[in-house]
């Protein structure tokens, strides 16, 4: 059962999950008109420092916003994140977040299935 500080301020953000794939990356490229070959061209991406296609960073960020909605509903909020690591296409993404009781902000993150944090930052709810 999810631990909560009180009804309005749960201790943890809900877990939202997404399994990525080349087909889903192609769809996200179509959704955003971002056809950067680092995301959608395996041959091009194989010759980069990443060694293969990587997900669009904002795909993980979209998952994080869905986790905020799962936790609090559609409430005004602010996110300040950095895309700290690339997430390979084919990895699974899971959101997480822990409250800082001092100021009721949340340390939020998106992690791949092998434990790499690809997005990290802060969530603040607004009135």
């Amino acid at each position: 059962m999810e631990q909560t500080t009180n009804a309005a301020w749960p201790a943890r953000l809900a877990e939202a999950r997404a399994r990525t794939s080349a087909a889903k990356t192609a769809r996200y490229a179509a959704l955003t008109s971002d056809f950067n070959p680092i995301h959608v061209d395996p041959e091009f991406a194989a010759n980069t420092v990443f060694g293969g296609p990587i997900n669009h960073g904002t795909l993980g960020l979209s998952l994080l916003v869905q986790a905020v909605e799962m936790t609090f509903g559609n409430v005004p909020h602010e996110l300040d994140v950095r895309f700290s690591r690339p997430a390979p296409v084919g990895s699974s993404l899971v959101t997480g977040g822990e409250i800082d009781p001092a100021d009721r902000s949340y340390h939020v993150h998106v992690t791949t299935d092998d434990g790499v944090r690809v997005i990290e930052g802060t969530l603040r709810l607004n009135d």
Binding site: D34, H77, D80, G121
Partner: protein, 138 residues
């Protein structure tokens, strides 16, 4: 008609100025977008869906951001993102107006940083303000 001399052939770092308005686009949350979003996140696609996720605003923001200041040099890095979501999800069929401008231009530790502000409104309703932090390639 030829291109205006103020429009660069390629939007390299030198082409940007703080305060520069890069343009406004109107994008619609149509059924094609909703279907793609549902397939990406393994959610059911309901053609009559009225409760949409605010996360759709992120893809709208990115589509508009990528629709202005083109062509760009290859290799730009989306390093960080600030979002202010106003608690108002988009609606199916809604036309969203997205304005993108340059708010900060700064060289730090040999890297060329550009910050772009994105604002999404629908009529008089503000839905999102975002800051896209990038490291520009050249």
């Amino acid at each position: 008609m030829g291109l205006r001399s103020s429009v660069p052939k390629i939007w390299n770092y030198a082409a940007f100025e703080e305060g520069q308005d890069l343009g406004t686009m109107t994008l619609r949350i149509d059924d094609a977008k909703l279907r793609l979003w549902a397939e990406i996140f393994d959610r059911p696609h309901d053609a009559d869906q009225h409760q949409l996720s605010s996360s759709l605003l992120i893809s709208v923001m990115m589509e508009a951001y990528l629709g202005v200041a083109q062509p760009r040099p290859p290799g730009n890095i989306h390093a960080g993102q600030k979002l202010r979501l106003l608690g108002r999800a988009p609606r199916k069929g809604e036309a969203l107006t997205v304005t993108t401008r340059v708010t900060k231009k700064e060289e730090r530790k040999g890297r060329k940083w550009l910050t772009f502000e994105s604002r999404i409104v629908s009529g008089n309703d503000a839905l999102l303000t975002g800051e896209i932090l990038t490291i520009w390639a050249e």
